[in-house]
Symmetry: C2
């Protein structure tokens, strides 16, 4: 992975594939795409694709994993940040990768990827939940009472929020959508007693 990252040819191949993928999803949707179409648009050989990826899903997974890495690095930069800032940065990240997320989550996107995005958000939400709980009132045995129910519903809500935001040409800035989502999340956490 670190070996690959510094190899110009592999990075270039991946970049060309990523751009071709986004273009083709916008034109024809993800599910019906063939590996041959993607590689033709990307101007690389089909053999080179299969040397680097198992299938088109593996390509998306790598692209998504790298985007998440960028996000986590951005989130980790100032260590002493307050929780709300996290979600602003999250939506800023979404805005940075707008074309990618709109393609994958939108009408022509992939149910499979939507599911993947939800799973990632569930993890992020559980981390956030622990963090917020820690800020509010540190407990001795906080590690066991975090269950999946509320994060699962919130993740679905967030994916919808992202999709709506991107498909409506981002009607307001990242801060605004982040704050609205935080308000909703806080309400739900409070309501269900999971929060504080």
């Amino acid at each position: 992975m670190s070996q690959k990252a510094q190899n110009l040819r592999l990075r270039r191949t991946q970049k060309l594939l990523r751009e071709a993928l986004v273009e083709l999803i916008e034109e024809r949707g993800f599910e019906s795409l063939t590996v041959g179409e993607i590689t033709e648009r990307a101007m690389i050989s089909r053999a080179a694709f299969y040397r680097n990826y198992q299938d088109k899903y593996a390509l998306v997974e790598q692209i998504f994993a790298e985007a998440m890495q960028v996000l986590f690095n951005a989130l980790a930069t100032p260590a002493t940040e307050h929780p709300p800032e996290l979600w602003v940065r999250f939506f800023e990240h979404i805005a940075d990768y707008e074309r990618l997320y709109r393609a994958l989550l939108g009408r022509k996107g992939s149910p499979w990827f939507v599911q993947k995005m939800r799973a990632t958000l569930i993890d992020l939400l559980k981390q956030y939940q622990r963090l917020a709980a820690g800020y509010a009132a540190p407990r001795q045995n906080a590690s066991t009472d975090v269950d999946d129910f509320v994060p699962t519903l919130l993740a679905a809500m967030l994916v919808e929020a992202i999709t709506w935001w991107l498909e409506h040409q981002r009607p307001y800035p990242p801060e605004a959508i982040a704050n609205r989502c935080i308000a909703l999340a806080t309400a739900i956490f409070t309501e269900t007693g999971t929060w504080r």
Copy 2:
């Protein structure tokens, strides 16, 4: 040439270089660009550049030559076309390659390329002149009395027209600018007695 054209890697390398070149000209101008900058942006190695091109001028020459080839193919498609159609197609071609020509001819472009463009247009104008003369009144010894003076001035005028058109966001369609240029050219040809 025909060998190279069907080689995916060479075509891809050229395409990446062309896009990087246009981007960098827009940002920093042509003259001060280094080969290293272009190859870095294009995500290819400097060694690969020098394997395929002598220097950055050779790169521009190839890009321009291929654009001209596309134009000539477009011009040649219907053989029984009237002269005016030629210039409409010419400006349509300019519009197709807008970014390239704007970068190379505009403020951040290259005097060297402007000169090259003029030379190409002089050739095209002389062909057009012979063609028009042939349509109007075929002569026995038409090949000797075509001199360079009027084509040279007209070419300079055309380059200015193209540059103006592109730098003003193409205020009217190809047909309109073509017809205006034809009107001017006809006036000059008529005035100097070179026409008919």
